[in-house]
Subunit: 134 residues, 2 copies
């Protein structure tokens, strides 16, 4: 069912420092920062040859990564995102297998303008898993 | 400098449960478990089209992931691994830029029989970074 690893998302407490470490020190290609007010984050991508790293930095008062950064002040990996061909079929299979889909179970439009769902970390080795329609 | 994302390593408290979730529920291709006594882990790979997930399960008395699982009893992402063409050149550049290479700074032979180094999480957004010779 799952396909490509679309991205690994890292919540960062200092976006400029993260960009500098990945571009200057690790020599990676890093995109411009883009504010996503609907998602409460500013996003930067690190483009690797086979996938992406997504830096998430809080935007606004109620950023969904605010609590995470309070618990992890140096930053840390927030979630991993797998692509699926059919997000509704994926959701229905997951629910039938007893996996917990977060929220109301309906796909939302994610940061890449595609339908996404999040799965409960306790069902997947302590990792928050995002599924994104490919 | 960094190239492909070679793998995302997830420490798991129950290897059979992790394999079942990824193979049966997420429908991914999962390899047989391999004991790596020199590294204190049993390893399973989830083969995705563009990269791998590596499950790490403790093997023996002094597994390097024992402390991590005590702090994260449900499991969690332990490290991410980027490929580099020349690990010695990469190390020298990193040290010149002030990044901390763990251990004595000499590459070790990693779980894939290639030279690897680990970088200090505090220098890279709170994430433990492995570099592996491509």
């Amino acid at each position: 069912m799952i396909g490509r690893l679309n991205h690994v998302a890292i919540a960062v407490p200092d976006l400029n420092a993260a960009v500098a470490q990945y571009s200057d020190v690790l020599g990676a290609e890093v995109t411009e920062a883009v504010d996503q007010p609907d998602h409460g984050v500013t996003v930067v991508f690190v483009n690797l040859p086979n996938t992406k790293i997504e830096f998430l930095y809080p935007l606004g008062e109620n950023s969904p990564i605010g609590n995470f950064l309070e618990k992890n002040p140096a930053g840390g990996i927030h979630h991993i995102c797998y692509e699926v061909d059919d997000i509704i079929a994926a959701r229905d299979k997951l629910k039938a297998e007893g996996a917990r889909v977060l929220g109301d179970g309906e796909p939302k439009i994610g940061a890449h303008n595609k339908p996404v769902l999040f799965l409960h970390p306790k069902d997947f080795c302590g990792t928050l898993v995002e599924l994104e329609q490919a």
